[in-house]
């Protein structure tokens, strides 16, 4: 399964900076980034292995592909490659229909990992009321699992509060992550890929991750479908992302994930052993003790 993430946001919100940050901190994963215009992305020369008109290969295993031949063609080519990427990230144009684009993440060989919308703290409310782009901007925010409220260092703290309140009221399905200069830990944007991730190796070299904490749970015992469903439903908005695998009583393996308010439990082909969960949230907001209590109640040690 190839993970699929859409990164959108109106012109000037800071998508490109965010994408550059992702490429520099790929967590050793093979990421394919589909972008509109190579001219905008600014990749360190030292990171470039080879380059053609349609593709830039990076030394860390990532590739950047141009969308000039069309979106569907680019996706097909990547998915059918002999060594396909583990994660496809699409940079949506400023006026793209994000919801329709995100549906490609449900294609047979893919899993929709998340829709991330970058919003400029200073301008997003004005854009959402602009004569021409109001509908576009609101529709994008409505499609978001995660809203990166960017450039918070360029506005007052009161402004950040006001914008956050407005976003929460109008787009309750999304979780809001504050950022300066597009700096957000990759694990928050792109998911948790190390079962034993701890805050220290979430995103080395980044100071932004100091704002987040991580919660882990593991038990070697099978769980019931009901208790797992209940557990996923009980995770509240303090959890920005969660991911896990479980072996259900009866022998079915499932994976589950939470991004923003989107929760999914789906069959998983590889065998799991008991149950493993990783959750990330804001440091001081993510209630580690409450999560321990919830897990102990729903997944008790037998006997």
């Amino acid at each position: 399964m190839i993970l699929f993430t859409v990164i959108g946001g109106y012109l000037g919100a800071g998508k490109t900076t965010l994408l550059n940050n992702i490429l520099q901190n790929s967590q050793d994963r093979r990421i394919a980034l589909l972008i509109n215009d190579f001219g905008e992305i600014n990749i360190d020369a030292g990171l470039i292995k080879s380059q053609t008109e349609a593709q830039i290969n990076l030394t860390n295993g990532c590739v950047c592909c141009s969308l000039s031949d069309g979106f569907h063609e680019a996706i097909e080519q990547l998915a059918s490659a002999s060594f396909p990427p583990q994660h496809i990230i699409v940079e949506a144009s400023g006026v793209a229909d994000i919801f329709n684009l995100s549906q490609y993440g449900y294609s047979p060989q893919m899993t929709l990992d998340g829709v991330v919308i970058v919003a400029d703290a200073e301008t997003v409310v004005a854009k959402a009321n602009d004569k021409y782009v109001a509908q576009t901007v609101r529709r994008q925010l409505a499609a978001a699992d995660l809203i990166v409220l960017n450039k918070i260092d360029l506005v007052t703290r009161d402004k950040v509060k006001d914008v956050t309140k407005w976003l929460t009221e109008n787009f309750p399905a999304a979780t809001i992550i504050e950022a300066e200069a597009g700096r957000v830990p990759s694990a928050l944007l792109l998911g948790i890929h190390d079962k034993h991730a701890d805050p220290g190796n979430l995103d080395p070299g980044h100071h932004a991750h100091e704002q987040y904490s991580t919660w882990h749970f593991h038990s070697g015992h099978t769980v019931t479908n009901n208790s797992l469903t209940e557990f996923v439903a009980q995770l509240d908005e303090s959890v920005v992302r969660a991911k896990g695998f479980a072996l259900l009583e009866g022998g079915t393996c499932v994976q589950f994930q939470l991004v923003g308010s989107r929760r999914e439990i789906s069959p998983y082909p590889s065998p799991a052993e008991g149950i493993s969960v990783v959750a990330i949230g804001l440091r001081g907001v993510l209630d580690l003790a409450a999560l321990d209590k919830l897990a102990d109640e729903l997944f008790p040690e037998p006997g």
Binding site: L11, S93, V133
Partner: protein, 537 residues
């Protein structure tokens, strides 16, 4: 259409060029001649100029047609409209019987659910009545939907466990065979690929040329996609249009700026200038097209308040307003004519504001930039357009094909009556053409004129009588005024000394017949650069 010389009995042509129109004695001074009396009992008009069509949609004619209205075919016949689901199923059964290979998929086109408001949605169960084994893909007229049968879902391994939102489902959660938008349509790859492939075939272009000849059209404005920048495609266009048997000139406008493409517009403008170096009399590159929004009947056009009458607003802006000026300026500066697709009047405000900025930045006054479709143009917009030298290209065929739906559903009575305001454009001094947008609606300049002159809908309603124009005014809109928007009015669009000998040859005079009879006038064929092309059938 030459006001200095409106009527003549004879026309003299040499080497594809008009020497003059007048009486035989007046023309004899040009020297030795052969008198060709083929058209002695016909009416010769300037060849029609289709102002907005998509020539590669000729590829859609390679498949069975299941649209609601009759549609002309390249061989001069008519593909009849489908008025009920039973007819649709019967037509598909007949097509199924024509295919020898039982495994070959059946592609059909043109269906539009908007004409079946009282029916439940068309589903795979309807199409399964045609075949349980042969995959069937019914491509809708909008291009945004398809309906497929169970065999097509199975052939592409599309099952109910897939979670793509655009997969239509019944109450029990089972797939119903409707595929909405591209992520869902792409799941039935075998079908979508064949549809796409049809629109790249050489036969598509040739068939479109035949349709044009049958309709009296000698120049077609192709406001199409960007594939022509691919050398192979360009080569095919040059080959087909260069063939003497191909009866049509094409004024090609590329789309450089759909989302997802490059934003280096200086470089793109330069590509257009390169294209122009290789242009011929039959393949011209006057300018560039930008698409700014969706369609009214798809509720994806951007409307100013009070917005849509009924139905949910899916208004979709396809350009970033802050970038539009940056996009357009390199083309404007390079002297490339710009046609902007605006179905909604809000996007049209954006287009008008941007052209005002272009002129301030670079005072090219003879730009003839054009708003194409311009369906909901308001009176205030017409006044601004007149001042800025902006032209309109009205989609008058909408009055017939969707006029009732616009009145009842999309924009309501007042704005439906003001749709395609041709008479107001004349009064306010905005130069305009009228178009079919073929294959969105059938190609046919006489039909397009008929719509502008009569403003009738299928229910018998006259949609906005005050916006009717005369047949003479409509004729200008499909000849000289359409040529004006292409900066080709010095070469085509009227019968005048020194211009191309391009004629529409008709059996009756459109200025003399009952206006209701306009669309029924028989077309003998065309003359292109002095060469005669007889219509098929």
């Amino acid at each position: 259409m030459n006001p200095s010389n409106p009527l003549a009995t004879h026309i003299a042509v040499r080497d594809g060029m008009i020497l003059g129109a007048g009486s035989l004695p007046e023309l004899e001074g040009w020297g030795e001649y052969t008198l060709d009396e083929t058209f002695a009992d016909k009416v010769i008009l300037p060849g029609f100029v289709e102002a907005h069509a998509h020539v590669m949609t000729g590829g859609m004619m390679l498949h069975p047609y299941l649209g609601f209205f009759d549609r002309p075919t390249a061989d001069g016949g008519v593909a009849p409209g489908i008025k009920s689901y039973n007819q649709l199923i019967e037509a598909l059964i007949a097509e199924d019987a024509k295919l020898e290979d039982p495994g070959q998929q059946l592609i059909a086109v043109g269906f539009d659910p908007i004409y079946f408001p009282d029916q439940p949605r068309l589903t795979r169960h309807h199409l399964d009545q045609v075949s349980r084994t042969r995959p069937i893909y019914l491509h809708h007229a909008s291009g945004h939907l398809a309906t497929v049968n169970t065999a097509m879902l199975e052939a592409n391994n599309v099952s109910a466990s897939l979670r793509v939102d655009g997969l239509g489902r019944d109450d029990a959660g089972e797939l119903d065979g409707e595929l909405r938008e591209f992520a869902a349509m792409a799941l039935c790859k075998t079908g979508t690929r064949e549809v796409q492939y049809s629109n790249s075939r050489e036969e598509a272009l040739r068939d479109f040329g035949a349709l044009a000849c049958n309709a009296g059209i000698t120049t077609c404005t192709d406001l199409a996609g960007s594939a022509i920048l691919a050398p192979k495609v360009l080569q095919m266009w040059h080959k087909v249009t260069g063939d003497d048997a191909f009866p049509m000139r094409i004024a090609q406008y590329n789309i450089p700026a759909m989302p997802g493409n490059t934003t280096d517009f200086d470089a793109v403008a330069n590509q257009f200038i390169q294209l122009r170096r290789e242009q011929t009399d039959k393949l011209r590159f006057p300018g560039v097209k930008f698409v700014l929004d969706g369609s009214i009947q798809g509720f994806s056009a951007l409307l100013n308040p009070p917005g849509y009458f009924k139905g949910e607003d899916h208004g979709q802006l396809l350009a970033v307003p802050e970038q539009l000026m940056d996009w357009l300026l390199p083309f404007h500066k390079a002297g490339l004519n710009i046609h902007m697709h605006c179905n909604g009047n809000k996007t049209q405000d954006l287009a008008i504001e941007t052209v005002a900025q272009l002129i301030r930045a670079d005072p090219w006054l003879d730009h003839r930039h054009t708003i194409t479709h311009a369906q909901l143009t308001t009176q205030a917009q017409l006044r601004k357009m007149a001042r800025l030298g902006l032209c309109a290209n009205f989609f008058t065929n909408h009055i017939w094909y969707w006029g009732d739906q616009h009145y009842d559903i999309t924009v309501g009575p007042e704005r439906a009556n003001a749709l395609e305001p041709c008479a107001s454009a004349i009064r306010e001094g905005v130069s305009f053409s009228i178009h079919s947008d073929a294959g969105v609606t059938p190609l046919g300049s006489l039909h397009t004129m008929w719509c502008a002159v009569n403003r009738l809908t299928p229910s018998g309603r006259v949609l906005g009588a005050t916006e009717k124009i005369s047949a003479a005014q409509a004729l200008r809109a499909v000849t000289i005024d359409a040529a004006y928007q292409l900066h080709l009015d010095d070469e085509i669009g009227s019968l005048e000394a020194g211009k191309q000998a391009d004629f529409a040859v008709l059996e009756e005079d459109p200025l003399a017949v009952d206006p209701l009879h306009l669309r029924d006038i028989k077309v003998w064929g065309t003359v292109l650069g002095g060469r005669q092309y007889k219509a098929a059938g």
